[in-house]
């Protein structure tokens, strides 16, 4: 699964950046055509839901989606891609 931020809804508050336990977001740098600086995905491979939702059949974590005041975060299916090496740090 892939995390998608709906740019027509996001207002750039960066609460997702603040609460993510895996710190997959970072504050954005460029304003989009609406004038909003949308957060960017710094390390999307660490998102627990992206990796495990298919396996468990339910939303894992999902803190960003719950806390987003604008309901801008959702996950979508993504096509097959090469496996990546992931190093978990604490």
């Amino acid at each position: 699964m892939r995390l998608v931020i709906d740019e027509s809804r996001c207002k750039g508050c960066n609460l997702c950046t603040l609460v993510c336990p895996y710190r997959i977001f970072r504050p954005g740098t460029k304003a989009n055509p609406r004038g909003v600086i949308v957060p960017e995905l710094d390390r999307p491979e660490r998102c627990a839901n992206c990796r495990l939702q298919r396996l468990y059949g339910r939303t894992i974590c999902g803190m960003c989606q719950m806390i987003c005041p604008d309901q801008a975060i959702s996950w979508e299916e993504e096509g097959p891609c090469e496996p990546m090496k992931v190093a978990i740090e604490y």
Binding site: R9, K11, C13, L15, V19, M66, I67, P69, D70
Partner: protein, 262 residues
């Protein structure tokens, strides 16, 4: 479940400011309602006036956006006339405790089967930042430019004393706990009161040195203390600082409820 199946997507993006805690509380409520397995036709959201009370306008179910402070009275009429409907009330701190104070305590006294979710941002947000009954002592607002000289209401204490069946308080940082508390309240017969402290960066935060959205969330994170822990600390004789926020389930009773079909 996606939020989109509960929201009127033709009205999004909504009017809330960037980083408003109300959006978060709406997410928690919709998540809780969905987990209850209720059908959309049997739910009615009622609200008063204010930022919190704009929420039902974005939800697909039947909703009633009433006059300032009177949401609980309207909800009482709906519930008594048709006890099969599930009635959830969205309200704010000013709507509930200032003008709606009388209806609030009588709702608790009657123990009418409602779930009231109060989005307490400690200010009157929609109208530009006036002080509310829950504005902390010393906080700045447009009508308290020298710092509030009045004490703030303890809404949960009020609800518990007046006889509500379920009283809980969480903040908009504690989303998982808040969702669980709302779900418990929805399932609990009788008056369920959930106070959600939310951040208002535009009006409260900006005037009280918590300008960034993250500042107020950090404040909630660091100043929240679970009720059981506070109880333990009191028993051990340790002092709890005044500005700590006590969260958790604060009252749970089984008083007979009004408006429930026998």
């Amino acid at each position: 479940m996606t939020f989109d199946e509960w929201l009127r997507v033709d009205r999004l993006p909504h009017i809330y400011c960037a980083g408003c805690g109300n959006g978060t509380v709406i997410n928690c409520t919709l998540s809780a309602v969905d987990q209850m397995g209720w059908k959309k036709e049997e739910i009615v959201f009622v609200s008063g006036i204010g930022c919190s009370s704009r929420a039902p306008g974005y939800i697909v179910t039947d909703s009633l956006h009433t006059t300032h402070g009177r949401a609980i009275a309207f909800a009482t009429g709906i519930k008594m006339a048709n006890p099969d409907l599930k009635v959830v009330v969205f309200t704010g701190d000013g709507d509930l405790a200032a003008i709606g104070g009388n209806h609030f305590i009588h709702g608790c006294r009657r123990n009418i089967d409602l779930t009231v979710i109060c989005m307490n941002n400690m200010i009157y947000g929609m109208t530009g930042g006036q002080g509310s009954p829950t504005t902390p002592r010393g906080a700045l607002s447009t009508t308290t430019p020298y710092g509030s000289s009045e004490a703030a209401f303890d809404l949960c204490g009020l609800a518990a004393a007046a006889g509500a069946n379920y009283v809980a308080r969480y903040t908009s940082y504690h989303v998982k706990e808040l969702t669980l508390a709302i779900r418990t309240g929805l399932g609990n017969p009788g008056f369920s009161f959930i106070e959600a402290l939310v951040q208002c960066p535009t009006n409260y935060g900006r005037r009280n040195k918590l300008r960034q959205v993250s500042d107020q969330i950090e404040y909630f994170k660091s100043h929240a203390i679970l009720a059981q822990k506070a109880e333990r600390m009191r028993e051990e004789g340790k002092k709890i600082p005044d500005d700590m926020i006590i969260i958790g389930e604060l009252a749970r009773r089984n008083r007979p409820a009004l408006g429930v079909r026998k």
